[in-house]
């Protein structure tokens, strides 16, 4: 198989593998028969089955982009201190599942000694889910991994402890497409200037009808530039969303200066208490400042502090703001409210205050 073959090998279309083969036997035995769980300490869960059996989960944060050394290190710890069964959460935290309570403490110690961080459960700030950035994507305005590493350095105590009113789910994305999704707090790229067009390349690289169709505000028109077919952008219409860049890289939206970060809050996708909510813009114009993006982290910390001090138990960030109102959110966080906070996209009217429910 190491040699290229004459007739190429046909793939085995096995699709999604069965997880049962990799599942801890206690979990297999008690599948669908779990009674309750407890949270003995940050980073540790104890699930008890109706059968009386129990499974302990120890959760640790990593750097998401794992090198094989790190993977082997994690496996080694798993073999030595746990039962050799792991899983990864949707936030790229690793979970070790062990049947024996006595293995929990040594496992934690081994993980921490090896530089991993135990925590991220329950009402902590768990790992920031994020995206590819300059390391791999073709359209990024920043480096999500870098932003997250720098931020987690400062939030690590909130990962290790459960001192927040409720779970905090943060996400970071490296362009406005926002593969990282919404979050209690989301740190996303926000472009501020229309794309500059590299007219020389358009004719070769760009499917022009496709890109014209892609623009949500119809700001792109075909045009002849220096006699060659190219495009032009109506800068008054353009909302700098960057949607034209992926199908047409000559429409350069990324800019060392004008590509900024923005911070959004209140996305909550669980159905707990209220219905799922979208996140809302609270801060923009934040410098895209590698290697450590201190301005973004500072704002995130300010929001977290206000939330921690003011919210009630079990209030997610959106629940908290709904109770105290947006005027007070801006007051408590010291963030400015500007005309950019007022929606003007389709359906904007639904976001206007059509009532005298007013906060003083």
């Amino acid at each position: 198989m190491t040699q290229a073959q004459a007739t190429p090998r046909m793939p085995i279309e096995s699709g999604c593998p069965d997880g049962f083969q990799y599942m801890h036997p206690v979990m297999r035995r008690n599948f669908g028969q779990w009674k309750y769980h407890e949270h003995p300490r940050p980073g540790v869960l104890r699930h008890v089955a109706y059968s009386g059996e129990e499974i302990w989960t120890v959760k640790a944060g990593t750097q998401r982009i794992l090198d094989v050394f790190t993977i082997r290190k994690l496996c080694e710890i798993g073999d030595k201190y746990a039962d050799g069964y792991v899983r990864f959460t949707i936030r790229s935290n690793i979970e070790f599942m062990v049947a024996d309570k006595n293995k929990v403490e040594p496992l934690i110690n081994a993980l921490e000694e090896a530089g991993f961080v135990v925590g991220g459960t329950a009402n902590s700030v768990t790992m920031i889910s994020h995206t590819q950035g300059w390391l791999h994507c073709d359209i990024p305005g920043t480096d999500a991994s870098g932003v997250v590493k720098a931020m987690m350095d400062e939030l690590i105590d909130e990962f290790r402890n459960c001192r927040m009113p409720n779970r905090v789910h943060i996400t970071t994305s490296c362009c406005q497409i926002n593969c990282g999704g919404q979050g209690d707090i989301a740190i996303n790229v926000q472009h501020t200037k229309p794309p500059r067009i590299n007219h020389d390349q358009v004719a070769n690289v760009c499917e022009r009808p496709a890109v014209v169709a892609r623009c949500p505000v119809a700001a792109i028109r075909p045009a002849l530039v220096d006699g060659k077919p190219s495009l032009e952008v109506d800068e008054k219409k353009c909302i700098c969303c960057g949607a034209c860049y992926p199908p047409c890289p000559p429409m350069q939206i990324n800019d060392p200066e004008h590509t900024k970060l923005a911070i959004w809050v209140g996305g909550n996708h669980s159905n707990a208490r209220g219905r799922p909510t979208f996140h809302k813009l609270v801060a923009a114009g934040i410098p895209n400042n590698p290697p450590r993006w201190p301005e973004a982290t500072a704002i995130v910390k300010r929001i977290l502090r206000a939330y921690q001090q003011d919210a009630r138990d079990w209030e997610r960030i959106n629940d908290w703001i709904e109770r105290i109102g947006w005027p007070r959110f801006f007051e408590l966080t010291g963030l400015p409210f500007t005309k950019y906070h007022i929606d003007n996209w389709r359906g904007a009217r639904n976001s206007l205050n059509a009532s005298t429910h007013i906060r003083f």
């Binding site: 926002n178 206007l352 429910h357």
Partner: protein, 422 residues
């Protein structure tokens, strides 16, 4: 009566039942009124109405009728079946502005009835849905006469067509403990500033003012007016703890918990073990519910003023709109305060007159151009109370962020200074 009385078998059905019958009223005019003209009008009106009931269709059409000097205030109606019902062939309505708050003495009612009997059908509605006294049923000739007569003793027409319409205000401070403003003064200050725009239609479309003394909004101003002024207070609500105790004694603790404490939309009330009510006023959104349930114990604060919401209307042509908060709070005490309110209305109407499309209400224009453009057009700064929440979409160009942020901080500083000074 000489003429044949129309048969009205269907309408007769509406004389049955205990609720006062408008049909019986019209029949009284037909059968008992001393003036033959009125008897005749009532008879033919009933005839045409019966015809409508039978065929399930209306038979009026519009036209152009007005009084000298005005372009509006009369709703002209000409019958499409006037040959069959000639005496009510012309059946116009005069829309007359009521006094702010809808107050009347019986003397004045009689005087109005007398004048109307002289010129019109004898049918009056207090009031139409916009708030006008509707004198229903005048011939084209009589219209001017009737107007001249009542105009002499203090009454003026309201609006119709693309103009400022008759306003409406709740009973408010005249009788109601919830009132946070002088509804009648606001009503008259605004309406009488725009008298010219009431009488001479030249705006993109209609424009309505409505004034409620508190957020209970007894005149539906948020939904039914272009410019809603609603009384509200800014400081803490006033709690009479003795009255609270009295209320609890009468109704029981559970009643208060179930009907007051747990019904607060922001959960900002606590009932203490010793039967006091504590309100976290910074979370209170002045919804009025608790005050409504316990009007003796809970009252609006002392720092009263109004909120202004712009853009409400019913359904044509983009769907119903409610007004949006444009001014979260303004005082209305001094002459200058009132002047500021008038200026706001002027700015809004001027901007709309320039930028609204034909037949486009101000709320529809705001929907079309976006709230921010409207705010900039009338010179009002953005405020978080204008929105339920900040934007959810990233489709926005934020290149002026720093300057806008700067403006906000300057404003806040200014406010602080003023608060410290005041």
């Amino acid at each position: 009566m000489a003429k044949k009385i129309h048969e009205t078998p269907m309408l007769d059905e509406l004389e049955k039942g205990p609720w006062p019958s408008f049909i019986s009223g019209i029949k009284r005019l037909r059968d008992q009124h001393p003036d033959e003209r009125i008897r005749g009008v009532a008879n033919d009106l009933l005839g045409q109405l019966e015809h409508s009931y039978e065929t399930r269709k209306g038979y009026w059409k519009g036209g152009t009728v007005s009084v000298y000097g005005y372009g509006s205030g009369v709703i002209p109606r000409f019958s499409e079946v006037g040959d069959a019902f000639p005496e009510s062939r012309e059946f116009h309505t005069l829309r007359v502005q009521p006094p702010a708050g809808n107050f009347y003495t019986t003397d004045m009612l009689r005087q109005l009835a007398d004048s109307w009997e002289k010129w019109g059908s004898g049918l009056i509605t207090f009031h139409g849905q916009t708030g006008n006294i509707m004198f229903i049923g005048a011939s084209t000739d009589a219209t001017q006469h009737f107007f001249d007569e009542i105009n002499e003793y203090g009454w003026d027409l309201g609006g119709a067509g693309p103009c400022v319409r008759t306003g409406m205000s709740c009973v408010g401070a005249a009788r109601c403990e919830m009132s946070c403003c002088n509804e009648q003064r606001i009503h008259r200050t605004l309406l009488n500033r725009f008298t010219d725009d009431v009488h001479r239609p030249s705006l993109p479309y209609k424009f309505k003012f409505k004034i409620s003394g508190c957020p209970n909004d007894c005149v539906n101003s948020i939904e039914r007016s272009d410019f809603a002024i609603i009384g509200i207070w800014r400081d803490n609500m006033k709690i009479d703890q003795d009255a609270v105790k009295e209320f609890i004694e009468k109704k029981g603790r559970q009643y208060v918990i179930d009907n007051v404490i747990t019904r607060c939309p922001t959960n900002c009330m606590t009932l203490t073990d010793d039967d006091r009510i504590i309100v976290k006023d910074e979370d209170c959104v002045r919804c009025m519910h608790c005050l409504n349930v316990m009007p003796k114990a809970l009252h609006p604060g002392d720092d009263k003023g109004v909120s202004v919401l712009i853009g409400g209307k019913r359904t044509l042509k983009i769907g119903d709109l409610m007004g949006t908060v444009i001014v979260p709070f303004m005082k209305l005490e001094t002459e200058e305060d009132y002047q500021k309110l008038v200026e706001l209305a002027e700015n809004a109407i001027d901007f709309w007159a320039e930028n609204g499309l034909e037949h486009e209400r101000i709320g529809e224009m705001i929907e079309r151009i976006g709230l921010v453009n409207f705010l900039e057009g009338i010179g009002v700064e953005p405020d978080p109370n204008m929105v339920l929440h900040p934007r959810q979409t990233s489709y926005v160009r934020t290149d002026g962020w720093d300057e806008e942020a700067e403006k906000w901080f300057r404003r806040k500083l200014e406010e602080k200074k003023q608060a410290a000074a005041g």
